[in-house]
Protein backbone atom coordinates (compact mmCIF):
# COMPACT_ATOMS: atom_id res chain seq x y z
CA UNK A 1 0.00 0.00 0.00
CA UNK A 2 1.32 3.45 -0.91
CA UNK A 3 0.64 6.73 0.96
CA UNK A 4 -2.03 7.73 -1.59
CA UNK A 5 -4.07 4.59 -1.01
CA UNK A 6 -3.45 4.71 2.73
CA UNK A 7 -4.74 8.32 2.94
CA UNK A 8 -7.92 7.35 1.06
CA UNK A 9 -8.74 4.38 3.27
CA UNK A 10 -11.63 4.87 5.71
CA UNK A 11 -11.33 1.83 7.96
CA UNK A 12 -10.32 2.12 11.61
CA UNK A 13 -10.30 5.96 11.72
CA UNK A 14 -9.70 5.83 15.50
CA UNK A 15 -6.32 4.15 14.84
CA UNK A 16 -5.16 5.70 11.55
CA UNK A 17 -7.15 8.93 11.45
CA UNK A 18 -4.41 11.29 12.56
CA UNK A 19 -1.71 9.79 10.30
CA UNK A 20 -4.10 9.81 7.34
CA UNK A 21 -5.04 13.43 7.83
CA UNK A 22 -1.39 14.40 7.99
CA UNK A 23 -0.53 12.46 4.81
CA UNK A 24 -3.55 13.88 3.03
CA UNK A 25 -2.61 17.45 3.93
CA UNK A 26 0.98 16.84 2.73
CA UNK A 27 -0.32 15.36 -0.52
CA UNK A 28 -2.55 18.38 -1.05
CA UNK A 29 0.45 20.63 -0.44
CA UNK A 30 2.53 18.70 -3.01
CA UNK A 31 -0.37 18.91 -5.48
CA UNK A 32 -0.62 22.69 -5.00
CA UNK A 33 3.16 23.17 -5.52
CA UNK A 34 3.04 20.96 -8.64
CA UNK A 35 0.07 22.82 -10.16
CA UNK A 36 1.60 26.24 -9.44
CA UNK A 37 4.86 25.17 -11.06
CA UNK A 38 3.26 23.52 -14.10
CA UNK A 39 1.12 26.59 -14.83
CA UNK A 40 4.08 28.93 -14.56
CA UNK A 41 4.90 30.49 -17.90
CA UNK A 42 8.34 29.87 -19.34
CA UNK A 43 8.10 33.21 -21.12
CA UNK A 44 8.16 31.47 -24.47
CA UNK A 45 5.48 31.71 -27.10
CA UNK A 46 4.62 29.62 -30.13
CA UNK A 47 6.68 30.78 -33.11
CA UNK A 48 3.69 30.24 -35.41
CA UNK A 49 0.63 31.58 -33.59
CA UNK A 50 2.28 33.55 -30.75
CA UNK A 51 0.23 31.84 -28.04
CA UNK A 52 1.73 31.41 -24.58
CA UNK A 53 2.29 28.24 -22.60
CA UNK A 54 0.62 28.66 -19.21
CA UNK A 55 -1.65 25.68 -19.71
CA UNK A 56 -0.61 22.61 -17.74
CA UNK A 57 -0.90 20.21 -20.67
CA UNK A 58 -0.25 22.42 -23.67
CA UNK A 59 3.23 23.58 -22.71
CA UNK A 60 5.30 25.09 -25.46
CA UNK A 61 7.59 22.32 -26.60
CA UNK A 62 11.27 23.12 -26.31
CA UNK A 63 12.49 20.45 -28.66
CA UNK A 64 10.30 19.58 -31.59
CA UNK A 65 10.41 16.31 -33.54
CA UNK A 66 13.36 16.20 -35.89
CA UNK A 67 15.23 18.91 -33.96
CA UNK A 68 16.22 16.90 -30.88
CA UNK A 69 19.91 17.04 -31.85
CA UNK A 70 19.74 20.77 -32.63
CA UNK A 71 18.28 22.35 -29.52
CA UNK A 72 19.58 25.80 -30.43
CA UNK A 73 17.70 25.74 -33.71
CA UNK A 74 14.59 24.10 -32.33
CA UNK A 75 11.41 26.07 -32.93
CA UNK A 76 9.03 26.76 -30.02
CA UNK A 77 5.58 25.44 -30.77
CA UNK A 78 2.31 25.35 -28.84
CA UNK A 79 0.69 21.97 -28.33
CA UNK A 80 -1.50 22.22 -31.45
CA UNK A 81 1.31 23.22 -33.79
CA UNK A 82 3.77 20.85 -32.15
CA UNK A 83 1.30 17.99 -32.65
CA UNK A 84 0.68 18.95 -36.28
CA UNK A 85 4.40 19.15 -36.99
CA UNK A 86 5.10 15.87 -35.17
CA UNK A 87 2.51 14.02 -37.29
CA UNK A 88 3.85 15.58 -40.49
CA UNK A 89 7.44 14.72 -39.55
CA UNK A 90 6.63 11.13 -38.54
CA UNK A 91 4.84 10.53 -41.87
CA UNK A 92 7.76 12.00 -43.80
CA UNK A 93 10.27 9.89 -41.89
CA UNK A 94 8.17 6.75 -42.28
CA UNK A 95 7.85 7.28 -46.05
CA UNK A 96 11.62 7.61 -46.32
CA UNK A 97 12.19 4.46 -44.26
CA UNK A 98 9.70 2.58 -46.45
CA UNK A 99 11.54 3.83 -49.53
CA UNK A 100 14.89 2.70 -48.11
CA UNK A 101 13.73 -0.83 -47.31
CA UNK A 102 11.72 -1.09 -50.53
CA UNK A 103 8.17 -1.18 -49.20
CA UNK A 104 5.30 0.19 -51.28
CA UNK A 105 3.06 1.75 -48.62
CA UNK A 106 0.28 2.65 -51.04
CA UNK A 107 -0.57 -0.90 -52.10
CA UNK A 108 -2.07 -3.80 -50.17
CA UNK A 109 -5.06 -2.10 -48.53
CA UNK A 110 -5.45 -1.34 -44.83
CA UNK A 111 -3.80 -4.56 -43.62
CA UNK A 112 -0.88 -3.97 -46.00
CA UNK A 113 -0.40 -0.48 -44.59
CA UNK A 114 -0.40 -1.80 -41.02
CA UNK A 115 2.07 -4.51 -42.00
CA UNK A 116 4.33 -1.92 -43.64
CA UNK A 117 4.29 0.16 -40.41
CA UNK A 118 5.23 -2.96 -38.41
CA UNK A 119 8.03 -3.77 -40.87
CA UNK A 120 9.37 -0.21 -40.60
CA UNK A 121 9.21 -0.31 -36.79
CA UNK A 122 11.09 -3.61 -36.75
CA UNK A 123 13.87 -2.35 -39.00
CA UNK A 124 16.85 -0.80 -37.28
CA UNK A 125 18.44 2.11 -39.12
CA UNK A 126 21.98 2.77 -38.02
CA UNK A 127 22.00 6.36 -39.27
CA UNK A 128 19.28 9.02 -39.33
CA UNK A 129 17.26 8.59 -42.52
CA UNK A 130 16.67 12.33 -43.01
CA UNK A 131 19.33 15.00 -43.30
CA UNK A 132 19.09 18.33 -41.44
CA UNK A 133 18.55 20.03 -44.79
CA UNK A 134 15.57 17.79 -45.54
CA UNK A 135 14.09 18.34 -42.07
CA UNK A 136 14.45 22.12 -42.46
CA UNK A 137 12.86 21.95 -45.89
CA UNK A 138 9.98 19.84 -44.62
CA UNK A 139 9.52 22.23 -41.69
CA UNK A 140 9.50 25.16 -44.15
CA UNK A 141 6.74 23.33 -46.04
CA UNK A 142 4.76 22.93 -42.80
CA UNK A 143 5.26 26.64 -42.04
CA UNK A 144 4.16 27.64 -45.54
CA UNK A 145 0.99 25.55 -45.12
CA UNK A 146 0.26 27.18 -41.76
CA UNK A 147 0.86 30.65 -43.24
CA UNK A 148 -1.48 29.86 -46.14
CA UNK A 149 -4.10 28.59 -43.68
CA UNK A 150 -3.82 31.72 -41.55
CA UNK A 151 -3.96 34.00 -44.58
CA UNK A 152 -6.99 32.17 -46.04
CA UNK A 153 -8.85 32.42 -42.72
CA UNK A 154 -8.03 36.13 -42.49
CA UNK A 155 -9.26 36.74 -46.06
CA UNK A 156 -12.54 34.92 -45.31
CA UNK A 157 -13.23 37.12 -42.23
Amino acid sequence: MNPFNFAKETNRPHVHGEARNKILSLLNEIDAVYKTHMRKSTGKTCDICGKGDTDEIHKVKDVASGYSHRENLSPCLCYGHWHGWAISYIKFERDRKAQLIGIDRKSGGASGKIQSIIDIQNTIFEEPVLSDEEIDLHFAQYLAKQLKKGATNAIKL
Binding site: D47, I48, G50, L73, P75, E133, E134, D136, L137, F139, A140, Q141, L143, A144, K145, Q146, L147, K148, G150, A151, T152, A154, I155
Partner: protein, 82 residues
Protein backbone atom coordinates in the same frame (compact mmCIF):
# COMPACT_ATOMS: atom_id res chain seq x y z
CA UNK B 1 13.65 50.92 -45.22
CA UNK B 2 16.43 48.41 -44.58
CA UNK B 3 16.85 45.85 -47.34
CA UNK B 4 16.35 42.36 -45.91
CA UNK B 5 18.36 39.60 -47.54
CA UNK B 6 17.16 36.05 -46.89
CA UNK B 7 19.80 33.47 -46.16
CA UNK B 8 19.42 31.12 -49.11
CA UNK B 9 19.14 27.87 -47.22
CA UNK B 10 16.20 25.79 -45.98
CA UNK B 11 16.78 27.20 -42.49
CA UNK B 12 16.85 30.70 -44.04
CA UNK B 13 13.51 29.99 -45.69
CA UNK B 14 12.07 29.00 -42.30
CA UNK B 15 13.42 32.29 -40.87
CA UNK B 16 11.76 34.26 -43.67
CA UNK B 17 8.44 32.48 -43.05
CA UNK B 18 8.68 33.10 -39.29
CA UNK B 19 9.29 36.75 -40.06
CA UNK B 20 6.14 36.83 -42.15
CA UNK B 21 4.19 35.29 -39.24
CA UNK B 22 5.52 38.08 -36.98
CA UNK B 23 4.62 40.79 -39.48
CA UNK B 24 1.13 39.34 -39.92
CA UNK B 25 0.57 39.09 -36.15
CA UNK B 26 1.75 42.65 -35.59
CA UNK B 27 -0.38 44.08 -38.37
CA UNK B 28 2.61 45.02 -40.56
CA UNK B 29 1.57 42.60 -43.28
CA UNK B 30 -1.79 41.60 -44.68
CA UNK B 31 -3.46 38.32 -45.54
CA UNK B 32 -2.95 38.70 -49.31
CA UNK B 33 0.78 39.32 -48.92
CA UNK B 34 1.05 36.37 -46.50
CA UNK B 35 -0.80 34.17 -48.99
CA UNK B 36 1.57 35.26 -51.77
CA UNK B 37 4.61 34.59 -49.56
CA UNK B 38 3.34 31.10 -48.68
CA UNK B 39 2.72 30.28 -52.36
CA UNK B 40 6.19 31.48 -53.29
CA UNK B 41 7.67 29.42 -50.46
CA UNK B 42 5.82 26.30 -51.66
CA UNK B 43 7.29 26.82 -55.16
CA UNK B 44 10.81 27.12 -53.75
CA UNK B 45 10.29 24.07 -51.52
CA UNK B 46 8.96 21.94 -54.38
CA UNK B 47 11.95 22.91 -56.53
CA UNK B 48 14.37 22.05 -53.73
CA UNK B 49 12.62 18.73 -53.04
CA UNK B 50 12.86 17.85 -56.73
CA UNK B 51 16.56 18.74 -56.69
CA UNK B 52 17.14 16.51 -53.67
CA UNK B 53 15.22 13.66 -55.31
CA UNK B 54 17.18 14.10 -58.55
CA UNK B 55 20.44 14.11 -56.58
CA UNK B 56 19.41 10.83 -54.92
CA UNK B 57 18.68 9.25 -58.34
CA UNK B 58 21.94 10.64 -59.68
CA UNK B 59 23.78 9.09 -56.74
CA UNK B 60 22.09 5.77 -57.51
CA UNK B 61 23.47 5.90 -61.07
CA UNK B 62 20.62 7.39 -63.13
CA UNK B 63 21.80 10.05 -65.57
CA UNK B 64 19.39 12.80 -66.58
CA UNK B 65 21.42 14.56 -69.25
CA UNK B 66 20.30 12.35 -72.18
CA UNK B 67 16.66 12.91 -71.20
CA UNK B 68 17.00 16.64 -70.54
CA UNK B 69 18.90 17.36 -73.74
CA UNK B 70 16.58 15.45 -76.09
CA UNK B 71 15.01 17.96 -78.47
CA UNK B 72 11.57 16.36 -78.22
CA UNK B 73 11.80 16.27 -74.43
CA UNK B 74 9.79 13.88 -72.30
CA UNK B 75 6.21 13.30 -73.45
CA UNK B 76 3.71 14.25 -70.80
CA UNK B 77 0.25 12.73 -70.52
CA UNK B 78 0.76 9.72 -72.78
CA UNK B 79 0.53 6.37 -71.07
CA UNK B 80 0.44 4.14 -74.17
CA UNK B 81 3.76 3.08 -75.54
CA UNK B 82 4.31 4.19 -79.16
Amino acid sequence: MELKITEKTSAGLCEALFEEFDLLRNGLSDAHRASAVSKLAVQIINTKKLEIEAAAFHKAGLRFEPLALTASGIPIGHHESV
